[in-house]
Symmetry: C2
Subunit: 596 residues, 2 copies
């Protein structure tokens, strides 16, 4: 397993140069979030990631042990978690009035990338608490907040989101778990939930489950789903644990990857739960922070790409095989290191461009999260709209690309990539889930094209383009940047044209949306990331002109931008072509003749 190093220099570039984070934090009155303080926090988190979390990542792959309803996490996981809590990381971005440290959400996101890059399976344990915290913070009663929020925020307990049942995942309207009202105002929850990440473990003495279930008289479908808080251990009025609740882990899944994280089957057998928010409005309540959770999953795309890149780069500089086609580059060695071979560089550049471009996109998105949460003016609403548009793209596009980039990590290592010793194949397996959970790529694409683009009649796309115009238009006549500006400008224009024609087609036949959505999302991803790479190239040329003391860093940025525009952006055309294909091509074949 490659030993993870936090990409601190790139994070600094993204924060302080690309995203003007100093002004951003000042405008939100985060007086503590000075560059010095933030850099110190990131350096400390990076140390924890590389020194504590990275060394137990391969061990984690051996998996959790399940015994009579109990889960034992892999060696070292519990100790790492205890340290994590003692150092106060869980509460970094929580409000001070709830015992948090009151830092911006966007800083916590970078910390998540580091923890997740070093050890995704481990990072899911604290990561899953966010859903429970957000739910209770926004929709919990005062009593519920008093009892559950503080231990969740401090990391003393963890949380889960219990949505999926054996027969339904994407289609929650089908769920069957029942909630029967009890005389004491609580509800008896009965049903079986599957695929509950961090659903059972030995890291904390309690786990707070947020459970989707149906009241006895609930309407059918998604409009009859309510939210409940169901603690693993029941607590008294003072928050002290008093007895086990009727929720039991029936088994844990044997999965392709993320073996260190227990994916639990949870059986609720009349477990005591309490209603959160209004009855039958469970899905609405959840949607209020869906974007945050999806950004959290998008991070996996960047984190995995970064880890795979780091391992690949070290190997490519050290492994000797064949000579450069131009002739020996290192004649004293028995062969040239494989980084001389252009195709190895093609794969490394893909990893680098996705990791850095994706990091920039997510850092921008998490600034929008800051704005949604903390801006007092109209900026909150605008940020929420931008976020609604960009989140499904970021989640699906970055995780889809991560399937490719992590596979390149294996490919660069050749046979050594396929055996477990180098850890490259573990990254592929750990990352494979990312295009599925928290809404599959198809679900994200329908959210983007259906709920965002078409429902706004294209206005949201215009808003996004206007938002980024200051990153694009100033370079219209900049000689050095034409190689980036020209193809970007065409891509953005075509984006609008494609959107227009899709709106027309959708009016004729709603199915066209389903046939075009994934390609539309992928097109949007390439377009969006190209904006970030243009801006990055522009700032890098500026830094060089200003006589930067790190010319290599900025040259690498410009050359990665060039790679992106020459080698990655052409994929957008392919998606454009595919999405213009009529849906009839997909749907007209009778299902009976879909056979072999």
């Amino acid at each position: 397993m490659p030993s993870y190093q936090a990409p601190l220099r790139d994070m600094q570039f993204v924060l302080w140069q690309l995203l003007q984070a100093e002004q951003h934090y000042q405008s939100l009155n985060f007086s503590d979030a000075s560059p010095e303080m933030v850099d110190a926090i990131l350096a400390e988190a990076g140390r924890f990631a590389s020194e504590v979390l990275s060394p137990i990542n391969a061990e984690g792959d051996k998996g959790c042990r399940f015994e009579e309803g109990q889960v034992f996490t892999p060696a070292g996981f519990k100790e790492a978690y205890q340290q994590w809590v003692e150092m106060g990381w869980p509460s970094l971005a929580a409000p001070t009035e709830l015992g948090g440290q009151g830092m911006p959400e966007s800083i916590a996101h970078l910390v998540s990338e580091m923890a997740g890059g070093a050890n995704w399976a481990w990072a899911m344990y604290p990561g899953l608490s966010h859903g429970a915290i957000n739910t209770l913070e926004q929709h919990g009663s005062e009593e519920q907040q008093r009892l559950y929020l503080q231990p969740l925020i401090s990391g003393q307990w963890t949380g889960t989101m219990c949505l999926t049942e054996p027969h339904c995942g994407s289609d929650l309207g089908l769920l069957r778990t029942k909630a029967e009202p009890q005389a004491d105002g609580s509800f008896a929850i009965t049903g079986s939930k599957i695929y509950i990440s961090a659903g059972e473990h030995d890291l904390t003495e309690n786990i707070v489950h947020i459970v989707l279930a149906r009241l006895p008289d609930a309407p059918k479908g998604t409009k009859g789903i309510s939210l409940f808080v169901v603690p693993k251990m029941l607590i008294d009025e003072q928050g002290q644990i008093k007895a086990a609740n009727q929720v039991r882990c029936g088994s844990i899944e044997h999965k392709m990857g993320i073996h260190g994280n227990a994916t639990a089957v949870l059986n609720f057998d009349g477990a005591k739960g309490w209603l959160i928010g209004p009855p039958n409005k469970g899905l609405n309540c959840m949607f209020t922070f869906m974007n945050f959770a999806r950004i959290g999953t998008a991070i996996q795309g960047v984190a995995a790409t970064e880890l795979s890149f780091q391992g690949s780069l070290a190997y490519a500089k050290e492994r000797l095989a064949m000579r450069s086609l131009k002739g020996a580059q290192f004649p004293k060695l028995a062969a040239d290191p494989i980084i001389v071979h252009p195709d190895v560089r093609r794969m490394l550049f893909t990893q680098k461009a996705v990791a850095e471009g994706g990091r920039a996109l997510l850092a921008w998105a998490s600034q929008q999260v800051d704005l949604v949460r903390y801006a007092k003016d109209g900026r909150a609403k605008e940020a929420d709209q931008l976020l609604g548009f960009v989140t499904p793209i970021a989640k699906a596009f970055l995780t889809e690309l991560a399937l490719e980039t992590t596979n390149y990590g294996v490919q660069i290592h050749g046979g050594h990539g396929y055996v477990k010793d180098y850890g490259m194949e573990q990254i592929v397996r750990d990352t494979r889930i990312s295009t599925i959970y928290e809404g599959t790529t198809a679900i994200q694409s329908l959210d983007l094209l259906g709920r965002k683009v078409l429902a706004s009649q294209g206005r949201l796309l215009q808003q996004v383009l206007q938002h980024f115009a200051p990153w694009v238009e100033p370079y219209q006549d900049d000689y050095l940047l034409q190689e980036f500006y020209q193809p970007l400008s065409k891509t953005l224009q075509a984006w609008q044209g494609l959107t227009q024609s899709l709106m027309m087609r959708a009016m004729m036949d709603k199915d066209e949306v389903g046939g075009a959505a994934v390609d539309y999302l992928m097109y949007s991803g390439y377009a969006l990331l190209s904006i970030f790479w243009l801006r990055t190239a522009a700032l890098s040329y500026q830094a060089l002109a200003d006589g930067s003391a790190e010319p290599g860093f900025y040259e690498a940025k410009i050359k990665t931008a060039r790679f992106w525009f020459q080698r990655m952006l052409p994929r957008a055309q392919m998606h454009a072509k595919a999405l213009q294909s009529p849906v009839d091509t997909l749907t007209s074949l009778d299902a009976d003749w879909f056979r072999f």
Copy 2:
């Protein structure tokens, strides 16, 4: 794990309609290979694949057991192998004078697809023998042939190819294993070989290793490599086993997949071996059948895609989730089966198009193998040249696509695809090695662009295009086929243009070859498969016009062709764009600044 069903109907289409196999076999005097006989053989192989091999595929994933130099294969593997041998499958395509059944190689390839589709890890045990058999058949002494060939051909023993060492895989010039001449005419082989598939097992009493090693005075690099036959068990003049040789399995690898196949570290400690062919000509000897071995690996791309498609299709017809965007299609069910959703169909069509198109391409290639082996006239040479061009494309293109198609199998299953129960993730893991072993995608692409295209100054491409012209040109004015003919014609023209301009660039800078090769190969793959899909569509329209009793089968073919041209072929443009990018984009960044 999906239960495998041999795609017999499609194989019949490919053999008897698309490839006119009846005439092909007659022209090579295979009087036994009548359509009735071949169909009966395929049906019987299909039964074996689905009834014997498929049921032990999931069990095989639990892996081999290694104990003190011995390997114990998974439950059922040995029994299945014994049946396989008793039924005579290993010798199907071997010459009758060596105890074989004298059937054409192309039939054996379809049997390999079935065995491999049902259980790739198992199929590698008999599969690996081909390399040893071919080596001995073509380059072994009379004595070596007498002693080793018959038991290898019957399947009584298996064989291996021992190439890779810890520090060298793609670059065999670096290999260090030594061969010291002994007084008795044998050689003492000393060195360590890794990644030896089927290198140790309990299926047979002997294993015949073909080992690459260096004689004491051998020149450095690839020109100093010789081939040796090194049996695990030494035999006497009558071929009876007499004692263990000094070759020991040091361990087996822990891999991402193909767990049922033992990947051995073999330590040769003065093991007795005998020189095959002339000294220092080992690589040349191996290249004589390299194309056959690579086609054998290309089969994995098709076999895995087929298996993943079968599992996905069954699930898509049965799993209920959400309603069609057009409104409920199955109002009596709680939700529609997911095959109504266009994006699910996009993934299914991709699998179907790759499985069927790839099968057709490989069946064509294996007819060329028949011609190389058995044609007495000029056809053998032409077939060898065509095969030299198409083989690297088939191997790399079909295995790269299989990474995508098998991942779609997981994606269609959602969370159920990520857990082991449904077997979809095993297919991804088993298939991941296919773009690496038997020459990585980059190695294949350099073979194609460097050794085939550029070395022939483009003549080989012209030869391939001329060969396929009768499949393309007759449709120039066919109204029904314009939707396929037009884009194909443009793609083939552009193929020639891209090749021309690459030849120019390569003259200026050899590195351009390395920067463009993989994209050139992928472009070539889309172009080549499009020829097969045009021809398939044309034959299908003809069958419908002739009043076929299976209109659904042929309509499905036409609609899959349409999917291919509308949704897959646009990728060729993306590769064209990428390969036109100057190599400088990849190479100019200083390796020191390739960092994070």
